[in-house]
Amino acid sequence: MRSINARMLVAASLVLVLFFTLSGGVLDYVFRRTAEETLRHNLQLTAYGLMSAANVDPVGDLRMPSTMPNPRLSRRASGLYGQIRFPGGPVLWRSPSAKGIRIPYPKHVPSGGERTARVEDSRGKALYTLSYSVVWQTRSGDQIPFIFDVAESLGPYDRQLAQFRTNLFTGFAVLTGLLLAIQAIVLRLGLRPLRRIESDLAAMEAGRHTELTGRYPRELARLADNLNALVRSQHAHLERYRHSLEDLAHSLKTPLAVMTSHCNEEAMPPELGSRLREQINRLQQIVDYQLQRAAASGTRAGGKAVDVAACAERIRSTLGKVYRDRGLDITLAVPEGLTFLGEEGDLLEVLGNLGDNACKWARGRVRITAGRSGGTGGGRVRVSVEDDGPGIPERHADRLLRRGVRGDQSVQGQGIGLAVVGDIVVMYGGEVSVERSPDLGGARVSVTLPGAGIEDGGEKRKKNR
C-alpha cells in the first residue's frame, strides 16, 4: 500500500461496499414490511368476507353459505384457508380449501382483538395466520364469542422476496463494478501529474534531464519549481565554489612558479636554492592536492549521463599526444553506451590521473577497460587502467590512495594523482582497488562509479534489480 493510487482505490472500494450493504439492508427491510402489510391486509379482507357470509340463527347455530366469498376458499389446497371456532372450543366450520390440512392456529386470541402468527401446516408449508376474536349478538340478544381464523400460504411471498433480493443483489453488483471502474479511471486521470513527476524524477536520477521540465497542476507546480530551484542553486553554488577555487589556484600557483624560477638564478647560492625548492615543492603539492580534491564535485543530483567511451577516447588522445615520444600502445576496451552518472570533469579527472600514472610507468602498453560492475546492486560502472610497468608495491598502494604522499619523488605527480582519484571515487560511494594486472604484468587500478549500461539508463537499471 505504498502508492496513493492503491490507497485511494481500496478506500473507495470499502466505502462503496459499505454503502451498498447498508442500503441493500434498508431496501430489503422496507420491501419485506410492505409485502407483509399487503399480506395482512388481504387476510383481513378475507376474514371480513367470512364474517359477512356467516349467519347465526336465533338458536345460536352458525350457518355458512355453500358459495364462498373468495373462490380460493373453495378450491382445495389453494393456499388460502379459513375456519371458525369457539374460543377454547371445537371448530365450527372449516373452509373446503383446508380439507385434509391441519393448521396450528394460535389457541388464545385476546377477546375482541386479533392475532397474527407464522406457522407451519401439517404438510410443512409456511403460513401466515390472522385470528379475530369477535362477539356475535343474536337477534334474541344473546352474545356468542367466535374466533375467525384465516391463513395464507407464505410461498408466493417468499418467492417474491427471493426474486426481489436477487434483483437487488445483481443490480448492486453491476453498479459497484461500474462505479469502481469509473473510480479507477478518475483516479488515473487525477493522479497522472503525480505519475509524470515520478517518471521525470526517475529521468533526472538517470541523468537524462537536469530539471523537472513538465507542466504540472498548481499543487505540484510549486513543488517542482522549488525542486528545480534547489537543483539550480546547488549547481550555481558548485560553479561559484569552483570559480573561487580556480582563482585561488591561480593566485597561489603563479607566485610559486615565480619563486621556483628565482631559485634557479645565478645569484642564488645553490644550497639555499635547493632547500627553498624543496619547500616550494611541498607547498605546491599541498596546494595541488587540496585544490583538486575540493574541485571534484562528487554530486549525482543534476549530473548528466556521461558517455564513458567518449571520455576514455578524449583521455587516450590527450595522453597519446603528451606521451608521443614514448610510442606507447594505449588501447581502449569500453562498450558503447556505457554511462557515468555524475560530473564529466570528475570522470575525466579519474581517467586522466590513472592514465597518466600508467603512461609514466608503462614500458609499452596501457589499457583502459570499462564495463558494468558485476558487484552488488546494479547501476555501477567499473573502470580499470592497467600497464606493463613495474606495478605498485602493495605496501605503497594504501598510502598512495589515502594521502598526497609521493611513492616516488622522481616522477612528478605520482602520489597526488592516485589520492585525488581515491577522493573522487569515495565521494561517489565507489571503491578503488590496486592490484597486479594479470595480462600486462604492471599495475592495475580499478574504480567503481555510479553508472548505467545503456543510454536509456533508467529502464535498464530497473531490469537489473
Binding site: K253, T254, N264, I315, T318
Partner: protein
C-alpha cells in the same frame, strides 16, 4: 629558435623569457591575448608557451585562432588548474603538451625542446647526422664521440640546421629564428657564425657537414644514419 611566451603574470613572464634567452632562444612575450594572436600570426614562431588563464580571453581561444589560421607551430599550455578537463580541452583546442603551475624551469625547457624536435619530425631526443650527434635533452653536441664546446647561440644554430637536416635553410630564415628583430640583421653575422660552427664541427675539413648553396642558403647533410 623563436619562442613566444604568452603569460599575464609579468614576473613569471620576465623570468621565463630570461631563462630561454640565456639558453639561446629568441623570445617574444606578451600578456594579452590579442597581441598573442598577432605575434603568432606575424612572427616566424617555432614554439609557443601559453598560459590558459589570461585576463582578456582564454589562452585556449588564442590557440584555436592560430590553428584556424593555419599556424601550426607546437604549443605548450601552462595551467594553474590541474584539472584534467582543462588539460584535455587545451589539447583538443590544438595544444601539444601541458604543464601545471608551478613547474621546474628545467621541466619546461625539456618539454619545449622536445616539442621543437617532434615538430621537425624527429622521434628520438638524439639527432644524428653521420657521426655528429646532438642530444636535445642534454643540449650537447658530439662529433665522433668527442664533445664539442659551444655557446648557446652556436648550439641553437646547429640545432636548427640539424632539425631541418637535408633541407635548404636561407640566411633570412636563420636570422629570423635566431635573432631578435631589433638586432642588426647583418648577413655577415650569420656568415661569421656559420664559419665558426663549421670549424667546431669539422676541424680538419674531412666531414663537410654544412653545404653552402650560393644565393639560397645552407643545408646540413643528413649523413648516413
Amino acid at each position: 629558435m623563436r619562442l613566444l611566451i604568452v603569460e599575464d603574470e609579468a614576473n613569471l613572464r620576465e623570468s621565463l623569457a630570461e631563462q630561454f634567452r640565456t639558453a639561446g632562444f629568441v623570445v617574444d612575450s606578451t600578456g594579452e591575448a590579442e597581441e598573442a594572436v598577432f605575434l603568432g600570426e606575424e612572427y616566424p614562431v617555432d614554439v609557443a608557451v601559453v598560459d590558459l588563464g589570461l585576463p582578456d580571453a582564454s589562452g585556449m581561444d588564442v590557440i584555436r585562432t592560430w590553428r584556424e589560421r593555419r599556424r601550426d607551430f607546437p604549443v605548450l599550455i601552462l595551467t594553474a588548474r590541474g584539472r584534467w578537463q582543462d588539460k584535455v580541452a587545451g589539447l583538443e583546442a590544438g595544444a601539444d603538451d601541458y604543464l601545471v603551475k608551478p613547474f621546474q624551469p628545467e621541466e619546461l625547457a625539456a618539454r619545449v625542446n622536445a616539442l621543437l624536435r617532434r615538430a621537425a619530425g624527429w622521434a628520438s631526443p638524439v639527432l644524428e647526422c653521420g657521426d655528429i650527434r646532438l642530444d636535445t635533452a642534454a643540449q650537447r653536441v658530439t662529433v665522433g664521440g668527442q664533445p664539442v664546446n659551444l655557446t648557446a647561440y652556436e648550439y641553437r644554430i646547429i640545432e636548427y640546421l640539424m632539425l631541418h637536416a637535408g633541407q635548404v635553410v636561407s640566411k633570412t630564415e636563420l636570422s629570423e629564428h635566431l635573432y631578435p628583430d631589433d638586432d642588426d640583421r647583418d648577413s655577415n653575422v650569420i656568415e661569421v657564425l656559420i664559419g665558426r660552427v663549421r670549424r667546431k664541427l669539422d676541424p680538419d675539413g674531412s666531414r663537410q657537414p654544412l653545404e653552402t648553396l650560393r644565393g639560397r642558403g645552407y643545408r646540413f647533410s643528413a649523413g648516413e644514419r
